[in-house]
């Protein structure tokens, strides 16, 4: 797609010259997201109102111009890559918290609000928004909704989809619609709100989000437990849940990542451990001591090395810093990484980890295993050097093999990062041709001209 001068000038006129970018240097910044993929944007628009987006979409629809919506660009599946050119619609200037209704546990926000900013706004009031992706300091809530982001707290509290009550959406034609609202139950004939969540900017552009928030629990306990092997840690995960406990978080790191985290944070993690579990439970103070005791017993039965309970908020915070920064910390080992995202039934964790270890040896690439182990969601981190072409090719092969392995074990190719461009080739391995057909039809029902983030998730062009 190459936009004509009159098209560019019309688009600039909608948002104003101060909210559009056309220079080559500035366009470069919007070529990529958190993957290795790159696109070719022709104009970046920073709308400030729903009305401006509606006008942009009406024009784009009339002219058949691709529109790639984007928040902070922390996407891990290539979902925001403008690979067919056209417009990049950056919603970072629509960043207001519009309404807080504590009594009904609802907050209404614009899509460009950063996840962490909402958390900091809510925390002094005793509330929080449960989805907590690792990129929460940078990622926007609009992006979270578009990708159906998860995070460590998902095991007990669910994913973004479970916290979106309503949406204001600009459709591909420019029409503005409200789906759902502030009520906890949506009585509409089909649940289009839920469908929109995780649709990766391909069905509509969210301009207002009605989000459900939660009150903080009375108390919580954070535990760290180390094991000789990932297999033993994985078995402990299943055992904890079978004891009737659903922890808030149940995170796992392997030896490679323990060392990366320790190199970066220096908090005294056991560098010789094969794996660690970071476990958190919440609820009434009275019930937590019993749960901690059960978890300790279960870990011991699964040959844990060391078990400790964080004794202060500061200690808890340090453990979480180690967990949240470990992805960035791997840069000390190799200059590039590819962060995978597959989910398997929890009982299959040891098997998939074994397969990943074998892949690491077979392709001679270091792979760290990070997992939201409680819900079977793994993030293998394949470390490499982007400048070495042969390594990049091997990384792509490993990505494919990891997806294959997950599917063979009854899993899915994406637990919380989405399909985008990166996983699109593998979608047909997970779904039958009939289901893929329905997904394509669904896309076309909302976007008949295929201009909204075209050909992401499924190729219809």
């Amino acid at each position: 797609m190459t936009l004509a001068a009159h098209q560019l000038s019309k688009l600039v006129s909608i948002v104003g010259a101060g909210n559009a970018t056309l220079t080559k240097e500035e366009l470069l910044v919007y070529e990529y997201d958190a993957t290795l993929l790159k696109g070719d944007p022709e104009i970046i628009l920073f709308p400030k109102t729903t009305e401006q987006i509606s006008k942009i979409m009406a024009f784009a629809c009339q002219e058949g111009i691709p529109v790639n919506t984007r928040g902070a660009g922390t996407n891990l599946s290539g979902g925001t890559i403008p690979d067919q050119g056209g417009i990049v619609l950056a919603l970072t200037k629509m960043n207001k918290i519009l309404e807080l209704d504590l009594a009904n546990h609802v907050v209404v926000v614009e899509p460009g609000v950063i996840n962490q900013d909402l958390q900091e706004y809510l925390a002094p009031l005793g509330y929080y928004f449960p989805p907590d992706p690792a990129s929460m300091k940078a990622c926007t809530l609009g992006g979270n909704v578009a990708e159906c982001s998860g995070g460590p707290r998902c095991l007990k509290y669910g994913v973004t989809r479970d916290y979106v009550l309503g949406l204001e959406v600009v459709l591909s034609s420019g029409e503005v619609v409200i789906l759902g609202g502030k009520n906890p139950v949506n009585p509409e004939p089909l649940d289009l709100v839920r469908l929109m969540v995780g649709s990766e900017g391909t069905l509509g552009i969210f301009t207002k989000l009605f989000l459900r928030i939660k009150r903080f629990s009375h108390a919580k306990e954070t535990m760290l437990c180390t094991f000789d092997s990932v297999k033993e840690a994985s078995q402990a995960v299943s055992s904890i849940i079978s004891q009737g406990i659903v922890p808030t978080t149940l995170e796992m790191m392997d030896n490679l990542l323990i060392n990366c985290a320790e190199d970066f944070t220096h908090i005294g993690l056991d560098r010789t451990a094969g794996a660690l579990l970071l476990i958190e439970v919440d609820g009434h103070q009275e019930e937590l001591a019993d749960q901690v005791a059960v978890i300790q017993r279960v870990c011991r039965q699964n040959n844990s090395r060391e078990f400790k309970v964080a004794q202060s908020t500061a200690e808890t915070d340090r453990l979480w810093v180690a967990r949240r920064t470990v992805i960035g910390a791997v840069a000390r080992k190799r200059p590039s990484y590819s962060l995978q995202d597959v989910t398997v039934p929890r009982s299959k964790l040891p098997e998939i980890v074994e397969k990943i270890v074998n892949l690491s040896m077979e392709y001679d690439l270091p792979i760290g295993v990070l997992a939201h182990a409680g819900d079977g969601n793994l993030h293998p981190l394949v470390l490499f050097d982007e400048r070495i072409e042969a390594e990049v090719e091997k990384v792509h092969l490993v990505e494919e093999k990891i997806c294959e392995s997950a599917l063979m074990l009854g899993g899915t190719i994406s637990g919380e990062h989405g399909i985008g461009l990166l996983k699109r080739p593998f979608l047909a391995n997970e779904f039958s041709p009939e289901a893929i057909f329905l997904k394509k039809q669904l896309k076309l029902a909302f976007d008949p001209k295929n201009i909204l983030n075209p050909d992401k998730i499924v190729e219809v062009g």
């Binding site: 009594a103 034609s173 906890p184 089909l190």
Partner: protein, 397 residues
């Protein structure tokens, strides 16, 4: 109801054939349960599937805490079978004892456990669906997290057999809570009961279930030997050490409104209470198509209950009102077959609902927005596999 065709397939192949035949004959397929709690009288040419023979648990995965079951299994029986094995499926509504798993998924009625445990859709991890032309599609599996493209499962759940028939489902389970306890409080007025319950929630209490019944409904429930007064029923569950604190907090908040409190700790009595309430509502619902199911916000429920009770008083024959504060929804239905001549309580009640900000009725057949309706029609075409969808511009508003 004998005028309606109610075939009862004994296996999935028969079910598939029935669906294909009906589709070819242009016959609408509905579940048999629609003959009872429906919002309107069904068309006699429709086919009402009785799935009661497809009623088995296919796989109970004790390690992964999932169950896969055939759609015809009675929802209440499924929950009981799971509970006997130590698993908890925290989903429930008025029609659970009388309806199948497929009906529950097809209607997606709000769950009484929603406030604490979340909605129905959060517990469905996999579906097998038979499309109108007989094509079988499988979606999801046993994974808790899945964002592989568009959420077709979420779209099919609650689609009321319009997009396809759910023949099997895999559901996520929880462990049975260590302890549970019900506490009932009687009030002088429905508004006081709803206000008290709202205050409880606003102050941070998280009961597993919390419902308020008006006096007519409370006195109609078999086995409730309480005087005919508005009744608040709250169930708390969790770990034993936390229970006394929960109950103490309940009593503290509620004492401003009522001191007439009864505690039920026997699990059998708790189960019986909910079963009897469900049976009373289902039986009343089966007798009359005139009923209202609405959704609102917690802060609107108190005012709404005042208006509804004023309206109910005008009806000579008893009307039951149930407000479920766990999901901010409510139900209004006649408890006697007879209704006052010349007085249309249903229209009056609908007016009250429409005039209350944020309050909305269930049973909508279409969307308010023309473009969304156009999309909806296209989705129907896609799922019925009637060929290509209409890619033209939607009708103007």
């Amino acid at each position: 109801m004998e005028n309606y065709q109610q075939p009862a397939p004994t296996d999935f192949t028969q079910l598939q054939s029935l669906i294909v035949e009906s589709h070819q004959m242009g016959q609408k397929i509905l579940l048999k349960e629609n003959l009872f709690p429906s919002h309107s009288l069904p068309d006699s040419s429709d086919l009402f599937l009785d799935l009661s023979h497809l009623n088995h648990i296919i796989d109970l995965d004790q390690e992964n805490f999932t169950v896969t079951a055939a759609g015809g299994i009675n929802f209440f029986a499924l929950q009981n079978q799971l509970r006997d094995k130590g698993f908890f499926l925290p989903l429930d509504n008025y029609f659970s004892p009388q309806t199948s798993l497929t009906y529950q998924l097809s209607q997606a009625l709000p769950s009484s456990y929603q406030g604490k445990y979340g909605s129905l859709r959060q517990y469905v991890t996999g579906l097998e669906v038979i499309l109108p032309d007989g094509t079988v599609i499988n979606l999801g599996g046993k994974c808790i997290k899945n964002v592989s493209g568009y959420d077709l499962m979420g779209l099919l759940i609650g689609s009321k057999e319009r997009l396809g028939l759910i023949s099997k489902a895999t559901l996520r389970l929880l462990p049975v809570p260590e302890a549970s306890q019900v506490i009932c409080a009687r009030f002088d007025s429905l508004t006081a009961a709803v206000t008290a319950a709202s205050q409880l929630l606003l102050n941070g209490s998280i009961p597993a279930k919390i419902q308020v019944l008006n006096a007519s409904l409370a006195s109609a429930v078999n086995g409730l030997v309480f005087p005919a007064k508005p009744l608040l029923i709250a169930e708390f569950d969790g770990f034993k050490p936390a229970m006394p604190k929960e109950i103490q907090f309940f009593k503290k908040i509620i004492s401003d409104y009522s001191n007439d409190i009864t505690e039920i700790t026997n699990p059998l009595e708790i189960a019986k209470l909910w079963l009897e309430l469900g049976n009373t509502i289902s039986q009343a619902a089966a007798k009359s198509p005139s009923k209202l199911l609405f959704t609102s916000q917690l802060t609107d429920l108190s005012g709404l209950s005042t208006e509804l009770i004023q309206l109910a008083v005008l009806e000579k024959h008893p009307l039951g009102i149930l407000i479920d504060l766990g999901n901010s929804s409510g139900l209004l239905l006649p408890l006697a077959e007879e209704q006052s001549p010349g007085w249309d309580w249903l229209s009056q009640a609908e007016n009250v609902i429409h005039q209350t900000l944020n309050c909305r009725l269930f049973g909508m057949k279409t969307f308010h927005n023309a473009e969304i309706n156009h999309i909806f029609q296209n989705l129907l075409v896609a799922f019925e596999r009637r060929g290509n969808i209409d890619l033209s511009c939607p009708p103007a508003q």
